[in-house]
Amino acid sequence: MDKKIILIVVIVFILCLGAVSAANLDSKKFGDDFSIKVPKGSNFVAQKQNMNGTDGFFNKNMRLDSYMDNQNQIMILYSSFPMISEDSADMFYQMMFQNMNPGLDSCYETQDGDLKFLKPIKKSSTNMALAGFNKGNKTVMVIGTDYDLVYDMGKTIKFS
């Protein structure tokens, strides 16, 4: 009976560890666009670009907003491009990943529902992981050097 109690306590401890990890993230709204859980105490500096133009290509409402947190080396990208949809978002992630990691020709990749996660095969202080989430023409990407944090944040993305 004692062994069973120890086993149960261990299981509860493991579950609590997960809860503690999740507790280090706080939900944050980024304008009216989306919400995501971010590390407590993080400070995201916004840089917004409206790509509205007068020529034929840039004449639609296109946005690319980036939010940088230097402390955790995390970048969040929000894009609203008519040409990026659920059919093409995965290609977009791959292109971004290759551009962020120009020296790589392989990575680990997995998909969890609408969330795609790409991470370098080997951990490095310069190579970055990417979590991408898309609905319609809206896409959010989390990019950073802490691969577990990128994945954990990616799982919490919600569009408004």
């Binding site: 791959q94 998909q111 799982k155």
Partner: protein, 173 residues
């Protein structure tokens, strides 16, 4: 009831609540499970080129070669558990003749047995294993699915599973 038993029951309730909460999040939260009738698979998007049902939780080691290998850019997705491998290529060189080249080579060397299921071409490596299959690896089977100039090569050691997966391929290009 003994105090010890009460503690055990209380702990069990906590565990069940935690598990139900976790499952609830998985099924009703932001994950939106795969749009498939089979709960054990995910409709995996392969870089917007095609989708295919794969076992849920599959992690791929993806490799790309954008510089070309003589035939065109190719991507490979190797299951981390080494159960199967997926290759994708898009090139103007992928034609009926290209596929027939593999078939003829297999027949001539007596290394490969080729069968068909609908549009799928199934290669069985009958050699001693030293000969690579059309997927470029040493799995026993390779299943080829083609749409125009796009080609998917599924490799593995369980032909039935490969065919089952290949039948769910939807090309996007």
């Amino acid at each position: 009831m003994e105090k010890k038993n009460k503690i055990i029951i209380a702990v069990l309730v906590i565990i069940i609540v935690a598990l139900v909460a976790a499952l609830g999040f998985m099924f009703f939260g932001g994950m939106n499970p795969a749009k498939s009738s089979n709960a054990n698979v995910t409709v995996y998007n392969f870089d917007s080129a095609f989708t295919m049902e794969v076992p849920k939780g599959t992690v791929f080691k993806k490799s790309w070669n954008d510089s070309g290998n003589g035939f065109g850019a190719m991507k490979t997705y190797d299951d981390k558990n080494k159960k199967f491998s997926v290759g994708y290529m898009e090139s103007f060189m992928i034609t009926d003749d290209f596929i027939n080249l593999f078939i003829e080579y297999g027949n001539e060397t007596n290394n490969t047995k080729v069968t068909h299921q609908g549009d799928l071409v199934i290669f069985e490596n009958t050699g001693n294993g030293s000969q690579k299959n059309p997927g470029g690896n040493n799995y026993k089977y390779a299943v080829l699915a083609r749409d125009g100039h796009q080609l998917v090569v599924l490799s593995g050691n369980n032909a039935d599973k490969l065919v089952e997966m290949a039948k769910t391929i939807e090309f996007k290009g």
